[in-house]
């Protein structure tokens, strides 16, 4: 149970805070050494220890068999960095400032109990990745997935998850689920479009993903193992939050839902 703040006020406050965070200098390019490290690939990036939270991005094999600059890296690292800026501004989380990509078959994954993955409709996990992700989730980790659209991508993701967690049901998260109220009171799940569609101002769907869905995979005790944000693209909304042509209502919602997922994942 949370102490509730009316969503309109919270959203307004959140918007101001986020916009404030992206003032001059907030999006300054990373130092050359960091940028080089990212370009060399995730294996070479080891964040300094000691922080309470690292926004960790899952590096996985995709249907194109690319593990470097593959589908996992869409919006990376700008979306990650901008989300962390908002996260630190709006919550009391002691978060690491930069991105933290890590492979699913890396044992170090277990040091980060919350991991974010995008474009999972293109996921094609190797067996070590399946084993790594399964043990991660069963040990207590939480996977947040985002930015995959339509029935084909759903089917692919579902088949990959069936390999990771065979027999575990996928459920729709009801509107009174704690995840939707743990920090902000999120009354409705909004479809967040990609940056192109958002700027254009027309429809928000891609492929045949007309309606957004917030789903989850739960274990036998009801613990959420995977939070599924289908037919929506939070990552683009974080990445382009400072873009004056990207609608504020989408980035507001994306931050609210993203922060709720993080706070929920750190407390439930």
């Amino acid at each position: 149970m949370s102490i509730r703040i009316p969503v309109t006020w919270a959203a307004a406050a959140g918007s101001l805070a986020v916009m404030g965070a992206f003032g001059p200098g907030a999006l300054a390019p990373p130092p050359r050494a960091e940028a080089d490290a990212v370009r060399r690939g995730p294996d070479s990036v080891a964040p300094p220890p000691g922080r309470a939270f690292y926004f960790t991005r899952a590096v996985y094999s995709d249907i194109d068999r690319r593990t470097f600059r593959g589908w996992w890296s869409v919006d990376y690292p700008k979306a990650d960095r901008q989300f962390v800026i908002g996260l630190k501004r709006l919550t009391g989380i002691d978060a690491y400032d930069l991105e933290n990509p890590i492979r699913l078959d890396d044992p170090a994954l277990r040091r980060y109990p919350l991991v974010y993955a995008v474009e999972v409709g293109h996921m094609s996990l190797t067996e070590p990745e399946v084993l790594g992700l399964r043990s991660y989730l069963l040990a207590g980790g939480l996977l947040l997935v985002d930015d995959f659209w339509g029935s084909w991508e759903w089917a692919n993701f579902e088949s990959q998850m069936a390999r990771v967690l065979p027999g575990y049901p996928v459920i729709d998260l009801p509107s009174d689920h704690p995840l939707l109220h743990v920090f902000y009171d999120v009354e409705h799940v909004v479809q967040v479009p990609n940056v192109g569609l958002g700027r254009r101002g027309g429809h928000t769907w891609e492929k045949d993903g007309y309606r957004p869905a917030l789903r989850g995979i739960v274990d036998r005790d009801g613990h959420l193992l995977v939070v599924i944000n289908w037919n929506s693209d939070l990552g683009d909304a974080w990445e382009w939050a400072e873009d004056p042509f990207y609608p504020l209502r989408f980035s507001n919602f994306a931050y609210q839902l993203g922060i709720n997922m993080i706070v929920y994942g750190m407390s439930h």
Partner: protein
């Protein structure tokens, strides 16, 4: 032996010298004697002076000293030295003979004869020479004691059947009974195995003030030759259902050094565990830690038993029983976390299946924004961290995470201190960037409460990864016992992943116990990882690590391993163990003998745990047959909220005592206490003769200690006393053998030396 030699040389026993004073009773003038002696000595020295040219310097000195000694001894003897002692007037004084009538006197450790046989032969038989001799000088008054004390008719036999030995009551009784009569002394005949656990200081000071000596007669051997004793069993009074119960058992033996024995533990008649134990040396303690599981609610009677070994003298002391009350209730713990952290998630998960723990979490997610988890209703913690004692004290434990001291108002910090010190709750403080000194707690009230010494860190970026290891205390502690397959914890401490700390705490307070330490992975310093201390009525624990969740998540920990869950369950159960309720009932002992009274003490407190004095407090006692009686408890006046009553018992079995309290129209609550009423073999524990204890009693009062073999000295020593009706007697000392021996020796030495030097 030494005493016999002394008595031979000096004519009288040392005890007489202790009581006497030296005097001279010469029948002729003392001055004449001294002048004669001086003249004699002068003549001798003159003679030696004349012969000096024939003597060396050394011979001259030796001969002079010898001659001086001879003359001196003669003068001493001629002055007729006497020892003046105060002695009793025959038949004018009373001597108390106080006889131990307890069961331990039935022990046959005197070459097959019982201790009681000695008591009977020496102090109860009409033809006893000791009694006859004492009877010639004193009026004898006999007492027998054990659980109770009474006058004893010497014509009747002693039973040696009383179940306890209460020396304090015995001495008080004797003093009361013989007040006003000329009491010359007390002869206390016992093995000294006092098991009433009463302090003897008061009665001994009274006897000392009255100048009445106590002569103690120790009966029995200082050590039983072949015996194994379950000497002590220490278990928590109450535990939560499903908890591990750690019980410390102490075995003491003689004659079985290094032997292996089996310790069986029975729970209400069913053997639940057995341990093979190698016994330590004679009269050395063998400590055994037994882990039991509290699987059924209610009062559980655990019995610790070592089978009787071959040749063992006493079998009754191979068993001890202890009652543990297993509570099936849900203990409420407040966990306040100052920032979102994964510790919250994993601690909540660890105890999620524990039906006896409820962790109510208040987590600050942003400035002035809080998340409440596990609350009972919409009102609980609606205002954030509690601001009143009544609200805070509903919890039995508090956990503080990474939250800075300045978050709390001064009164709230004081309340947390009082929660531990006055309410008796448990406080657990976790590590974090805003905890301990890093959170500004240095110099606050919590600094007093916590077991660690906080010092501001010189390094604001301090971070260490530490390998956690248990201390010797931690290896057997109920919180840190892991690696037990029964609980699903398969890993040892060495197998657990390292944790990280942001709070450099290395020193603990003098009264604190450290259970876990962590050595920095660079092989450097050792830091405190888990320490606790008692503070007032409660307990405080410091656990300055920030990521114990790694014991659950880390890749080195198998998925099926439950070490993290086990650790946190054990930790939180222990945190709230023995936290008192508003009504708390206690008894000095958990068991009494049939016919004894149960001393019941109830502490009655209001919701802020302040004592209430005007309450109506009643005890409803259900005896073993199910009959109920009601008794009122009276306020003690000495202490706020403390009420007492003495409840009579008559039947053997379990008495259930439910104490209820009400104040005006308000019910304050109730508490249940079980008391066992049964015959106990207490007398067979620690049943060897306690010579040091009896010597102390005698020394404190001016008496003496005797063993069976030296009992003859008693009849003479008791004559010389300052108490009662006495007169002074003079005993000649001039005819002491030592005088003649020294005189003859000196004469012989002088003569021999002179002859050797050609002077004789």
């Amino acid at each position: 032996m030494l005493e016999s030699v002394f008595t031979f040389l000096f004519k009288y026993r040392p005890a007489i010298y202790q009581h006497g004073q030296l005097g001279f009773d010469a029948p002729w003038p003392v001055a004449a004697t001294l002048i004669a002696g001086a003249l004699l000595l002068g003549a001798a020295l003159l003679a030696y002076g004349g012969a000096r040219p024939h003597l060396g310097q050394r011979d001259f000195v030796v001969l002079t000293v010898l001659r001086t000694a001879i003359v001196g001894l003669l003068v001493f003897a001629l002055l007729r030295p006497v020892l003046v002692v105060s002695t009793v007037v025959p038949q004018e004084n009373v001597l108390a003979i106080v006889l131990d009538d307890s069961r331990s006197m039935q022990l046959a450790d005197r070459d097959g004869e019982t201790r009681g046989a000695f008591v009977t032969e020496t102090f109860a038989a009409s033809d006893s020479p000791v009694l006859q001799e004492l009877g010639e000088r004193f009026k004898l008054r006999f007492f027998r004691f054990g659980t109770s004390v009474a006058r004893h008719d010497p014509g009747l036999p002693l039973t040696f059947g009383q179940s306890r030995t209460d020396l304090k009551e015995a001495l008080h009784f004797v003093r009361r009974e013989l007040a006003g009569v000329p009491l010359a002394g007390v002869v206390l005949v016992t093995d000294g195995a006092d098991n009433a656990t009463n302090d003897l200081t008061d009665p001994l000071l009274q006897f000392k003030a009255d100048q009445v000596p106590i002569y103690t007669v120790g009966v029995g051997r200082d050590a039983l030759t072949r015996d194994i004793e379950v000497s002590r069993v220490e278990a928590p009074e109450r535990v939560l259902l499903g908890s591990s119960v750690m019980v410390d058992v102490m075995l003491v033996q003689s004659g079985f050094r290094g032997d292996r024995v089996t310790l069986n533990v029975e729970d209400n008649g069913r053997i639940v565990t057995s341990q093979d134990i190698r016994l330590a040396g004679d009269r050395e303690a063998t400590m055994v830690r037994v882990q039991l599981l509290a699987t059924e609610p209610g009062p559980r009677l655990f019995r610790f038993h070592v089978p009787q070994a071959s040749g063992e003298l006493v079998a009754e002391n191979n068993v001890r029983e202890v009652m543990v009350t297993v509570d099936d209730r849900r203990e409420k713990i407040l966990y306040f976390e100052g920032e979102p952290r994964f510790e919250v998630k994993f601690i909540r998960r660890a105890i999620a299946d524990d039906n006896n723990l409820r962790v109510v979490t208040l987590q600050r997610t942003a400035e002035n924004k809080f998340l409440r988890l596990g609350v009972e209703d919409a009102d609980e913690l609606a205002g954030g961290f509690p601001r009143t004692r009544e609200e805070l004290f509903t919890y039995r434990g508090i956990m503080l995470g990474s939250v800075e001291a300045s978050f709390f108002a001064h009164d709230q910090l004081k309340m947390i201190e009082e929660f531990v010190g006055q309410r008796g709750g448990g406080l657990l403080v976790l590590g974090g960037r805003l905890a301990f000194a890093e959170g500004g707690y240095h110099g606050t009230q919590l600094a007093n409460v916590l077991p660690v010494i906080m010092e501001p860190s010189a390094d604001p970026e301090f971070f260490r990864t530490v390998e956690v290891q248990p201390t010797p205390t931690g290896r057997g502690h109920p919180v840190t016992r892991i690696g037990n397959a029964d609980s699903g914890s398969t890993l040892s401490w060495a197998g657990l992943p390292a944790l990280s700390i942001l709070n450099p705490l290395a020193r603990t307070k003098p009264g604190a116990s450290t259970l876990l330490t962590g050595r920095a992975d660079d092989g450097g310093d050792v830091y405190t990882v888990l320490a606790f201390q008692r503070y007032g009525k409660g307990t405080s624990i410091a656990f300055p690590v920030q990521d114990s969740w790694l014991w659950q998540m880390h890749a080195d920990v198998p998925l099926e391993d439950l070490t993290h869950e086990t650790f946190w369950r054990q930790m939180l159960r222990w945190l709230v163990s023995n936290v008192p309720d508003q009504i708390h009932v206690s008894t000095p002992a958990e068991d009494v003998e049939p016919g004894e009274t149960i001393s019941m003490t109830a502490e009655v407190r209001d919701s802020s745990y302040l004592g209430i004095n005007g309450a109506e407090v009643e005890a409803t006692v259900t005896d073993p047959l199910g009959n109920e009686t009601t008794h009122a408890l009276e306020w003690t006046v000495e202490e706020d909220g403390v009420y007492r009553a003495e409840l009579a018992t008559s039947l053997a079995g379990r008495y259930d005592v439910r104490v209820t309290a009400r104040h005006g129209d308000r019910e304050l609550g109730s508490a249940l206490r079980q008391v066992r009423v049964e015959q106990h073999p207490t007398e067979y524990f620690g049943a060897h003769m306690r010579a040091p204890f009896l010597k102390n009693i005698a020394a404190e009062t001016g008496g003496r200690f005797y063993r069976e073999a030296s009992i003859e000295g008693l009849t003479e020593d008791v004559r010389y006393t300052e108490s009662g009706a006495t007169r002074h007697e003079s005993h000649d000392l001039w005819d002491m053998p030592i005088v003649f021996l020294v005189l003859l020796g000196s004469i012989a030495a002088e003569w021999g030396l002179r002859r050797f030097r050609g002077l004789a």
